[in-house]
C-alpha cells in the first residue's frame, strides 16, 4: 500500500444521517430492526475495503433536539443495541472493523470491557469501541441512579463543569476498560495437566481502579482479546473532548469545516497528546463528513433539496455536509489530508444510496489516485490502521 494511503470508515445510523432519508425508495425503513438489514450494510462497506464501520447508539429515543425527546413521528425512532448488531454481523464478515457505540455515562465499564473483548473474539481481531457521553436528563431518568442537571446555557460555568465532569468520567471509564483488557496476560492459560492448573494465576491481575465516580476490582472474566487492546475511538468538538481523545483514544473523530480549522484542531490534539505523555503513540485523527454523492453534482444538490423539503427544514449537522461527486469528494479529502487528518469517517446521508456511492464511486476514484488500498492488507483492525498490538501493561518485562 502506498504510504499516502488514507483510512476510511463509514458511520451507520438508521437509514442514514438525513432525517428524511427513510423516505427514499432505497431506504428499507421497515427492515431497520432485522439482522439482514445490518448484514447487508456491513457487507457493502466491506466490499469497498473500508477500514471499519461505526454503529450509532443511544439510551433513549432519537431526537431532533439536543437535550430532550421531541415526540416527532415523521423520523426514524427506535434502535437496537449497537454492540449486539456488531456481534450479529461479525461472523458474516472477514476483514472490516466493527466499532459500536457505548454510552459510558450509564453503562458499567466491567460489562462493556468484556462485551468488546468478546466482539474481538467473535470477529477474530476486528473490534473497536466508540465511547460517548450523554448529558440528557431523560436518559438519566431511564436508569434512575443519578440525576443529570439540565444544561440551560451551554457556556455557563455550571454546564461547562458538568460536561468536563462527564468527560473526565469517560476518561476514567476507558482507563478501567483498558486495564481490564490487560488484566489477563496473553499466555495466562497454561492447561498444565501435571499440576492440574488451568491458568497461571500470577498472570492474572487485579486492576484496582479507583476514580472519582467509580472503582473496579478486576480481573476481567474474559481473557485478553485477540488485538490485546481493541480500538478505542471518540468524537470531539471542543477542547474537553479533544483531551479525552488525546489521553485515551486510538482514533479521534473531529468535525472541521475547512482545512484551516482542521489544521488547528489537529495541532490542539497533538499538543494535548504530548501533555498526556503519549506523543510517541500513533493516534489517528479522522475528519467526519456527511455526504450526498452522485455522479452529477446537480443531482446530489437536488437530492439534498428534495430531502430537506420532505423534512420541512434544511439539514444541519455538526460536521461539514458535502454535496457533489465522488471525484469532488476525493479532491476534498486530499485537501483535508494535507492539514494532518489521517482518515475520514463518512456519514452517508442516505445509507441505501450514499454507502454504495462511497464503495463503488469514491473508493475506485481514491484507488486510481493511489490513495486507498486495493485489497485488505491485514487481519485485524489495528493492523489495518497501522497500530501495533500493544504490550500488556501488567506483564513483567
Amino acid at each position: 500500500m502506498s504510504p499516502s494511503s488514507l483510512h476510511l470508515a463509514v458511520a451507520l445510523d438508521g437509514t442514514g444521517w438525513h432525517p428524511a432519508s427513510w423516505r427514499e425508495p432505497v431506504a428499507r425503513p421497515r427492515e431497520l430492526f432485522t439482522a439482514g438489514y445490518w448484514a447487508d450494510l456491513v457487507a457493502e462497506a466491506e466490499r469497498g475495503l473500508l477500514d471499519f464501520v461505526t454503529i450509532e447508539d443511544g439510551l433513549g429515543p432519537q431526537s431532533s433536539r439536543f437535550l430532550d425527546p421531541d415526540e416527532r413521528t415523521d423520523q426514524v425512532r427506535g434502535r437496537l443495541d449497537a454492540v449486539l448488531i456488531a456481534s450479529r454481523v461479525a461472523p458474516l464478515t472477514r476483514h472490516i472493523g466493527l466499532v459500536p457505540t457505548a454510552v459510558v455515562t450509564h453503562t458499567e465499564p466491567f460489562h462493556i470491557s468484556k462485551a468488546i473483548a468478546t466482539l474481538d473474539y467473535v470477529s477474530t481481531g476486528r473490534a473497536g469501541l466508540r465511547v460517548q457521553i450523554t448529558a440528557r436528563p431523560n436518559e438519566a431518568a431511564h436508569f434512575g441512579r443519578r440525576t443529570i442537571p439540565r444544561i440551560e446555557a451551554y457556556d455557563s460555568p455550571e454546564s461547562q463543569e458538568l460536561v468536563a465532569d462527564l468527560f473526565d468520567e469517560a476518561a476514567d471509564y476507558v482507563e478501567a476498560v483498558r486495564r481490564l483488557w490487560d488484566s489477563w496476560e496473553d499466555d495466562a492459560e497454561i492447561r498444565d495437566a501435571d499440576t492440574g492448573r488451568f491458568i497461571d494465576r500470577d498472570k492474572l491481575h487485579y486492576i484496582d481502579f479507583e476514580g472519582k465516580h467509580f472503582s473496579v476490582k478486576g480481573p476481567s472474566i474474559t481473557p485478553r482479546p485477540p488485538q490485546g487492546q481493541p480500538l478505542v475511538t471518540a468524537l470531539g468538538h471542543q477542547t474537553v473532548p479533544y483531551r479525552l481523545i488525546a489521553r485515551q483514544a486510538d482514533v479521534g473523530y473531529i468535525t472541521p469545516q475547512d482545512t484551516d480549522q482542521a489544521r488547528a484542531i489537529v495541532a490542539e490534539i497533538r499538543a494535548e497528546q504530548e501533555a498526556a505523555g503519549r506523543a510517541d503513540g500513533l493516534l489517528h485523527v479522522f475528519g467526519d463528513l456527511v455526504v450526498f454523492l452522485d455522479d452529477d453534482p446537480a443531482e446530489a444538490a437536488a437530492r439534498r433539496d428534495r430531502l430537506d423539503a420532505l423534512a420541512g427544514e434544511p439539514y444541519q449537522s455538526d460536521a461539514r455536509v458535502f454535496t457533489g461527486t465522488p471525484t469532488q469528494l476525493a479532491d476534498l479529502l486530499g485537501e483535508f489530508r494535507s492539514a494532518g487528518l489521517t482518515g475520514f469517517r463518512l456519514r452517508p446521508a442516505v445509507l441505501g444510496h450514499d454507502l454504495p456511492a462511497i464503495t463503488r464511486g469514491l473508493v475506485p476514484e481514491l484507488q486510481r489516485r493511489g490513495a486507498f488500498r486495493t485489497a485488505y492488507e491485514a487481519d485485524t483492525l489495528r493492523g489495518l490502521l497501522g497500530l501495533a498490538r500493544p504490550a500488556n501493561r501488567y506483564a513483567a518485562a
Binding site: F33, T34, R77, T124, R191, F198
Partner: protein, 458 residues
C-alpha cells in the same frame, strides 16, 4: 389407560467454568474462541435441540484469597456471544444467564429485545440473583445486596423489564414513505415505574420484538427461588436430575403454580444433566469413571472440601481420611465467587454426613468428592441413555434436560448422532423445529396470547 407420551425438551449448556469440564482431555478445545461456540451451537441445532444455554459469573472465583486455578477460568460476554451465534444458526434458542443484581433494567431490556430482533425471536433470559459484595467490587454501583433482598430486586427487575417490553405493542412502526409517518404513536415506549428498587421513567427505545418478551428462566433453589419461578418464569434451570430428586422438585414447583393462576404446562422444569456415552453400557461405565477422576484431582478434592470446611486444608492428604476438625462456621472467607448452594449453608451437617459416608465406604477425601460430586446422570450406550432420559421425563422427574457435556466443543457430537435419532424413533423428540421462535420449540404461548394478570403478582 396410560397417559399420552410427553415430548422431551433438550438443550445444551456450553461447557465452561465449572468442575464438570475436562480441559485436560486431548480432545478439549478452546472455551473462548468463537469457533468452539459455533461448533457447539451447530451441533445442537443439527440435533434439533430447543436452545443453547450459557451460565455467567461476574467475578473470577477465589479460594484462600487467590484466584481459583484448577477449573476452566474465563468466559465471554453472554449477550455478545449469543448475538454472534444468531448468525450461524437459524432455529436454536439462545438462552443467556444475566444477573439482576449487577445490571439495570433499561439496559438489560434493550439487550434482550435487541437479541430477540437479531435472532428472529430466539432469546431467553435466565434470571439469576447472585448478590455478594465480592462480585459487587467489579461494579460502579459498588453493587451488592443483603441476601434477603436478592429476590425482591429480581422480581421488581423482571417486572420492570416486562413493563419496558410491553411499552411497545408491535403496531407502532408504520414507516409509510408516502405520507411521511414513521411512528403511529409519538408516545411509543413510554413508561413510569416506581418501586422499592427502581424509580425510572421515560421512553424505551427498542420496538416490540418477535417474541414480545424473551422467554424467562429461573435458577435458584430456595423457597423464595421456587416461588419466584412459579410466579414469573417460563422454565426452571434446576439441579435436580435424579429420578427421585427430580420428581420431588417437579411436584413441588408445579404445585405452586395454581396460586398464581397458572397451568402445569406454563412452567417447564429442565435440570442440568451430564452424561457418559459409549458403545456399550460397560464401556460407558468405564468412561464415566475415568471422567470423574479427571474432574477430581487430589488438589481439586481438597479445594472442594474447603468450600464446606471454610478452612485451609492444604496440609491434608487427598488420598487419606476426612479431617476430624469441624468446619469453621463463621462467614465464609476461604471460597469466594461461587454460586451459593444450600449444601454449603449448613456446613456442620454436611461435614457430619460426609464423614459417615466416608467411614461406611472406606473412602479417602478424593473418593468421597468423586462419589458425592458431579456424578454423570446418564451413563450407557445410546439405547440405555435414550431409554433412561425418556423414562425420567415420562415419570415427571422433569420436562427434559439441559445437557452439560464434559468436553468443549465436541462433547455433544455423539449425543446428537446416536441418542437423538433413538428418541425421534420413539416419537418423543421432534424431527423438525416447531416454528421460528423459541416459544414454538418450548410450546409456550406468545405473551400477547395470554393475559398478563396472575403473573408477577406480588
Amino acid at each position: 389407560m396410560s397417559k399420552p407420551l410427553k415430548q422431551i425438551h433438550l438443550a445444551a449448556h456450553f461447557p465452561g467454568v465449572n468442575n464438570t469440564t475436562v480441559w485436560s482431555d486431548p480432545e478439549a478445545g478452546s472455551h473462548i474462541e468463537f469457533s468452539s461456540f459455533a461448533h457447539f451451537a451447530k451441533t445442537a441445532e443439527r440435533a434439533k435441540f430447543d436452545f443453547l444455554f450459557l451460565a455467567e459469573g461476574l467475578r473470577l472465583r477465589e479460594q484462600g484469597g487467590k484466584i481459583y486455578d484448577l477449573d476452566v477460568v474465563g468466559r465471554p460476554d453472554t449477550f455478545t456471544i449469543l448475538a454472534a451465534l444468531a448468525a450461524v444458526t437459524e432455529h436454536l434458542g439462545l438462552t443467556g444467564t444475566i444477573n439482576s443484581t449487577f445490571n439495570e433494567p433499561y439496559e438489560v431490556a434493550r439487550q434482550f429485545a435487541s437479541l430477540d430482533h437479531l435472532s428472529g425471536g430466539r432469546s431467553a433470559w435466565n434470571v439469576v440473583t447472585s448478590w455478594d459484595a465480592f462480585t459487587g467490587e467489579n461494579f460502579r454501583r459498588g453493587g451488592f445486596l443483603p441476601q434477603e433482598e436478592r429476590y425482591s430486586r429480581a422480581k421488581e427487575f423482571l417486572a420492570t423489564t416486562q413493563e419496558l417490553f410491553d411499552s411497545w405493542h408491535g403496531d407502532e412502526i408504520l414507516a409509510d414513505q408516502a405520507s411521511g409517518v414513521f411512528l403511529r404513536d409519538a408516545k411509543a415506549g413510554s413508561f413510569v415505574h416506581t418501586g422499592q428498587h427502581f424509580d425510572i421513567q421515560g421512553q424505551f427505545n427498542v420496538p416490540r420484538s418477535p417474541q414480545g418478551r424473551p422467554v424467562v428462566f429461573q435458577a435458584g433453589d430456595s423457597e423464595e427461588g421456587r416461588e419466584f419461578a412459579a410466579s414469573s418464569a417460563d422454565a426452571i434451570f434446576s439441579r435436580h436430575a435424579t429420578l427421585e430428586g427430580g420428581q420431588a422438585f417437579y411436584a413441588d414447583v408445579k404445585n405452586r403454580l395454581a396460586k398464581y393462576g397458572r397451568r402445569h404446562d406454563q412452567l417447564l422444569i429442565l435440570p442440568a444433566a451430564s452424561f457418559a456415552l459409549a458403545d456399550t453400557d460397560a464401556e460407558a461405565e468405564e468412561l464415566a469413571r475415568i471422567v470423574r477422576r479427571q474432574q477430581v484431582s487430589g488438589a481439586t478434592a481438597l479445594k472442594h472440601l474447603e468450600f464446606v470446611w471454610n478452612r485451609d486444608l492444604s496440609s491434608y492428604d487427598p488420598e487419606g481420611p476426612l479431617p476430624d476438625i469441624d468446619p469453621d462456621v463463621s462467614e465464609n472467607h476461604i471460597s469466594k465467587g461461587r454460586a451459593q448452594v444450600r449444601m454449603y449453608r449448613d456446613p456442620l451437617a454436611t461435614a457430619r454426613e460426609w464423614r459417615e459416608l466416608a467411614a461406611a465406604n472406606n473412602w479417602s477425601i478424593r473418593d468421597l468428592v468423586i462419589h458425592t460430586g458431579n456424578r454423570q446422570n446418564f451413563i450407557g450406550s445410546a439405547e440405555t441413555v435414550a431409554r433412561t432420559i425418556n423414562e425420567y421425563v415420562q415419570a415427571d422427574a422433569s420436562d427434559g434436560f439441559i445437557l452439560v457435556p464434559h468436553i468443549t466443543p465436541t462433547g455433544l457430537d455423539a449425543f446428537a448422532d446416536k441418542v437423538v435419532p433413538l428418541l425421534q424413533e420413539q416419537g418423543v423428540f421432534r424431527t423438525e423445529y416447531e416454528g421460528p421462535t423459541l416459544r414454538h420449540q418450548l410450546g409456550l404461548a406468545h405473551p400477547d396470547e395470554t393475559p398478563a394478570e396472575g403473573r408477577l403478582a406480588s
